[in-house]
Structure formats: C-alpha cells, structure tokens
Symmetry: C2
C-alpha cells in the first residue's frame, strides 16, 4: 500500500487545504491533528459538516464529479497522507477488498453526519453543545491513547462551535457559561475539561450505539 501514496503533507493551523469547487486531485487521510469539513452558503454563512480526526478521510469525491464538494481547514497543526486520485483506481484494482472498506468508511461518515443532523435539527442549544463535546471526547479517547483524565485538546473557537451547530457564537458563549457555572464542563485555552461526565452524558442525550463503531482506518 505504501507505494501508492505520493507523500505526506504538513499543514499549519488555520490553513484551508481543500477548497470546494476546486479540482479534486487527491484523497487525504488525517495522520495527526484536527480539521473541519465545511461549506459556504449563498448568504455567506458557513456550515461545518464534521470534524476530521486522525483516521478520517477527506477529498474523496464520486467518480463522475471531479470537483471538491466541500472545503477543509486545519484547526491544529496537521499531518496528512496524500493519495493521488489516479492511484486510487490502481489501488482498488489490485486490492478489491479495499473497495468495500472504502464504502464502509463512507457509510460510517454518513452515520456521523446523520447524528450531527439530528443534533442540529431536534435539540436545543445546550444539548447540541454537550452532545458535540461528548462526540469529540469519545472520538479523541478512541484515537489517541495518551489522553489523561478528563481533559482533552479542544481547538474550537466559539465561532466554530456555532457554525457547526447552527448557533451564533454569542449564544454558544452564554450556554458555555452555564455549563461552567453548573460545574459540568469548562473550555479554557484550547482544552476541554469535563467536570461531571455523568451529567454531561445525560444532557448530551447521546446515542450510545454510535460509540461502538469508530470510523478509523489504517
């Protein structure tokens, strides 16, 4: 497999390394760091679709379409594995079982997206935020084994949280103050500390089955 990749790529935090409507030439796998996948709407607002953590795949587009449908931006320093689009065909020809693997990963991402849609469509602000915190807590624990205790990296500005959850950053701020005052969770200088995981899970109304199927590859 190693022979197919065209190399790694290092990206600084804040860089948009994938742009919607631009030529989709490569498929990226996140090796380390965090990123967001998002799209712009015609009114200038931004919807963040999901968060890419190590193992996530970005930039894979349907056969017929050769433009990226979504953009992606690094939230932290990011290390990516690059697989040129043309090589994918070869790879799949040689290892057919990778086809179903790729489809499975795609379906897992779909499930995450559906979870996200339910969150935005049916829950109120506070539950959306706690739900997002729980999702990222679980995914972080699953991917990086060196997480200690109840503090995880959390490189999301309130603006980013708002754009992911369909809220204004102002309202995100108010809700996070409540969570802080209620002794549930605190975000401080890029780190999230869970003060009361019991209560956090309750408020998040988390779909537990979701935790069972991490979407990681490699």
């Amino acid at each position: 497999m190693e022979q197919y990749k065209s190399g790694d790529r290092l990206v600084e935090a804040g860089t948009e390394f994938l742009s919607q409507d631009r030529q989709a030439d490569s498929i990226y796998t996140v090796l380390s760091g965090w990123a967001i996948r998002y799209q712009w709407l015609s009114d200038g607002s931004r919807q963040i679709l999901d968060f890419a953590l190590p193992g996530s795949i970005l930039g894979f587009e349907p056969e017929a379409m050769d433009l990226n449908r979504h953009s992606a931006e690094a939230l932290t320093k990011l290390r990516l594995c690059i697989l040129p689009r043309s090589k994918l065909i070869q790879l799949l020809a040689e290892f057919p079982e990778m086809g179903i693997k790729l489809a499975s990963i795609g379906r897992s991402e779909q499930i995450t997206l559906a979870q996200h849609l339910s969150n935005v469509g049916r829950r109120r602000a506070r539950a959306r935020i706690t739900n997002l915190m729980m999702e990222l807590l679980v995914r972080t624990r699953a991917t990086s084994s060196n997480v200690i205790g109840d503090t995880i990296p959390f490189p999301l500005s309130q603006e980013v949280i708002g754009d992911a959850l369909g809220l204004t950053s102002v309202h995100v701020n108010r809700m996070m103050r409540e969570l802080r005052e209620d002794g549930i969770a605190v975000v401080r200088s890029g780190k999230l500390t869970i003060l009361d995981e019991e209560r956090l899970m309750e408020e998040a109304e988390l779909d537990h089955r979701h935790l069972a199927a991490p979407m990681e590859v490699n």
Copy 2:
C-alpha cells in the same frame, strides 16, 4: 448481476420496512416509489435524514456493524430490489469495479445529507421548505421522465416535512400558507404545484452544483 439479487419486494405506503437496531440482512435498492430514512431520538422525536427515490440505496451498513443504524418507511407504494448482505461480498469479488461504484454512491448520499444539514442549520423556516421542494422537484425530474409541467407527486404530510426540517408541523403549515398566498407553490392532495419556479429557486437559495450529480445507480 441479476443472479445475485434474491428478488423484489412490494411494500405498502406507511410500512416501516427497515428498522434501526434490527439485524441488517439485506441491501435494498428503490425501484419505484418514495421512502424516508430516519432515526428516533431519545426524547421521542424523529429526525428524517433523507428521502429515498428510485435509485437510492438503503440498508447498507459498515462491515463491522451488523445492525441497521436507521429506519426506513414507505411514503408511497414501493418496489424494492433485494440484495442479501452475504451476496454483496461475492458480487464485489467478481466485479471489483463495483466497489468504487458503491463508495461513490455513498459519497453522493453524503453530499445530499450535507446539503440537508446546511439547510436545517443555517436557514429559516421558509427557505428550508422551499429548498426541500426544489430538491425533490429536481430529483423527481431526473428520475421519472413522465413528469408533466410544474406538478409533481409530493406524498409528504406536514408532519413529515417538519420532522425532516427541524420544525413543528404547525409552523410548516403557516409557511406553506404564505407560499400559497404569495403565489409560489401549492400542495394539495399529495401533489406539489410550482406556481412561480423563478421565485421558488430564489427563496430556496439552492446550491446549483448539487443538481449536476444525481445519485442514481443501475
């Protein structure tokens, strides 16, 4: 390919033919009719994830997971093509190019879902509704060639529309009254009539690029 399918299945409107948390034994392709894919939340509310029209695939789950993640219900009389899960492996072994095809379809569904998420997360009620109308108008035109003029089948109750868009059916009703009074669109006995497509598209703030890539198979 024909040899792999285990047969067709006819389903009446209103039947839940796929249930979340039940054994995922088959993959369904919609041959004719409309269906919804949805999930229940812990508070008893329902989020409709997307609409399945002819060509859509339902019930495909990641390798590791053998339970359905979502439910599906027929909105109209439905004809389905059934492919047993076990046969899928064989099929892909014999036709490796189907792997990338399956992955591509999955990614297309993901794009639809992302579109839906943006709609719910960032737009107000009226735009959400017009956007949904436009999506279904375009998809209907793409799949069934026998659509005449500006009227399409529209078997969605206001309850269903609300559950798809994160609104109450009461509010959906008010918005649809406005659309009717403004001479933009009317829904009447299971049919949607577009009165002013120009204005409908404007209000829908539709992402036009989306139209280019139908997610059909076969």
